[in-house]
């Protein structure tokens, strides 16, 4: 038998992991407030000119999620809630794709020699991902309430595309050893984490694997998103430590070897 205090803690944890618990309200509202505050600070620091798409996202997301929160806690019909949720998902997906494009543009700005191959490869990857997402959507298990199914299937398909694009972005930058600007990396990293978590979340939700317990996934999803908002705030607002960079020089031995090879070629 559990001690009274321990069992009390278990009961409290169980209550906290219920929909409409204090934790549930916090995880839904807090990221929106932080993101709205981040948008305000971005505006004050002039970052909205540098990252207009992310700035738009930082405004639209709190408004949309806040509206859904109000609808959820107010006595409206489930149809109105799910219609709003579906519409917001469409808008959100569009803005997220624009933000990914913005990150890609910032990343490649200093590397004109990669411009063409980058455009070709990201277009190809995008087409493959859309085709994959469409195929996955075709294998969905719809239920009698089509609006919930449609929302979850759309969420899953959009997550496949977003997760794939951001993963490609990281792999592309890694292959070519591209250097990320701090803020651009922060945006991409936050979006990467949220895209992966959303993909897993929507994949389980779309197939109704957890049934009535699916709200537990919401907690995980909201907590992960909270972390992502904190990552964006950190990378966009906290200034980079000014590292004392000494002049990098190429090694003498390496230069000599190449020089010898070039001499031989010139003498041919």
């Amino acid at each position: 038998m559990l001690p009274i205090v321990a069992s009390g803690a278990i009961v409290r944890n169980y209550v906290m992991l219920q929909p409409h618990s204090l934790l549930w309200h916090y995880l839904w509202v807090a990221p929106c407030v932080i993101l709205a505050f981040l948008a305000l600070l971005m505006w004050r620091r002039g970052l909205h000119r540098e990252f207009p798409a992310f700035f738009s996202y930082a405004i639209v997301e709190p408004v949309g999620v806040g509206l859904l929160y109000v609808l959820d806690v107010s006595p409206v019909s489930p149809t109105i809630y799910w219609r709003s949720s579906f519409s917001f998902l469409v808008v959100e997906a569009f803005i997220k794709l624009v933000v990914i494009g913005e990150v890609f543009t910032h990343l490649l700005r200093r590397y004109p020699s990669l411009g063409r191959i980058a455009k070709v490869t990201i277009s190809s990857v995008g087409i493959i991902l859309v085709f994959t997402a469409t195929t996955i959507a075709a294998y969905a298990n719809p239920t009698h309430f089509w609006l919930i199914s449609a929302t979850r299937i759309l969420g899953r398909s959009v997550s496949v595309v977003q997760c794939g694009l951001i993963l490609f972005l990281f792999l592309f930058a890694s292959h070519f050893h591209l250097s990320w600007a701090r803020s651009v990396f922060g945006i991409a990293f936050g979006f990467g984490i949220s895209a992966c978590v959303f993909l897993a979340h929507w994949a389980l939700m779309a197939d109704w694997l957890l049934g009535q317990k699916s709200y537990l996934l919401d907690f995980f999803n909201m907590a992960a998103y909270h972390v992502c908002v904190l990552i964006w705030s950190y990378y966009l607002l906290v200034p980079q430590k000014s590292a004392t960079t000494s002049a990098v020089s190429l090694p003498e031995n390496s230069l000599a070897i190449w020089n010898r090879e070039l001499e031989r070629l010139l003498q041919q």
Binding site: R110, Y111, P112, S113, L114, I117, I136, Y139, R156, V160, C163, G164, I166, L167, F170, L171, A173, S174, H175, F176, H177, L178, S179, W180, F185, F189, G192, I193, A195, C196, V197, L199, A200, A203, L204, A206, D207, L209, T245, S246, A247, V248, S249, L250, P251, E252, S254, L255, A256, I257, W258, N259, R260, E261, L262, E263, R264, L265, L266
Partner: protein
């Protein structure tokens, strides 16, 4: 259900890759000083001989078809090793160039930018060449040209030397004496 599990596994793998790349990025930023040791010298002339189409034609004429395919595969594997090394060197030089970009001297910055551009171009060409080499390994009788990689590498070496000369004027560069 299977699809959901596949997608969850894919999401976890993708998250793992992103976290790993993020950690690698932060570590690389601290290790720039040791990058120069990662550059491996490459015998451009030997590579040029290896990809010379005339030598392939000669071997094709002199050897029976079966033996030619065996020899050709060996040459392609050696070629792949060279190209892989060229690509790695290009990546290291790209990182070095990006570190040098932070310097205040505009001449050094311009040379560093040129080095980065050339290195990235070469890394791209090396990737394409590697893909073509592996494709040629399946069909050893097909023709293949990797001359763009050699030309790119020569150009990159020249740019690297220019950057080195700008950063360390005291270091004697024999090419400058030759020119």
């Amino acid at each position: 259900m299977n699809l959901a599990i596949v997608l969850v596994v894919a999401a976890v793998v993708a998250l793992g890759i992103m976290l790993r790349l993020a950690i690698t990025r932060s570590l690389q930023a601290k290790r720039t000083a040791g990058l120069t040791a990662a550059i491996h010298p490459i015998d451009v002339e030997a590579f040029r001989n290896l990809i010379n189409p005339a030598e392939d034609d000669y071997l094709r004429r002199r050897l029976p078809a079966k033996q030619f395919r065996v020899v050709r595969r060996e040459r392609l594997r050696a070629m792949a090793t060279y190209v892989h090394m060229v690509g790695r060197n290009a990546a290291v030089l790209a990182s070095l160039g990006q570190s040098a970009l932070a310097g205040g001297d505009p001449r050094v910055a311009a040379a560093a930018q040129q080095l980065v551009n050339d290195a990235l171009l070469l890394r791209r060409n090396a990737a394409v060449a590697l893909a073509r080499i592996y494709l040629a390994l399946a069909w050893p009788s097909s023709g293949f040209a990797a001359m763009r990689v050699v030309d790119g590498y020569e150009q990159l070496s020249g740019t690297a030397m220019l950057l080195g000369r700008l950063q360390n004027p005291a270091v004697p560069i024999r090419l400058s004496a030759l020119l």
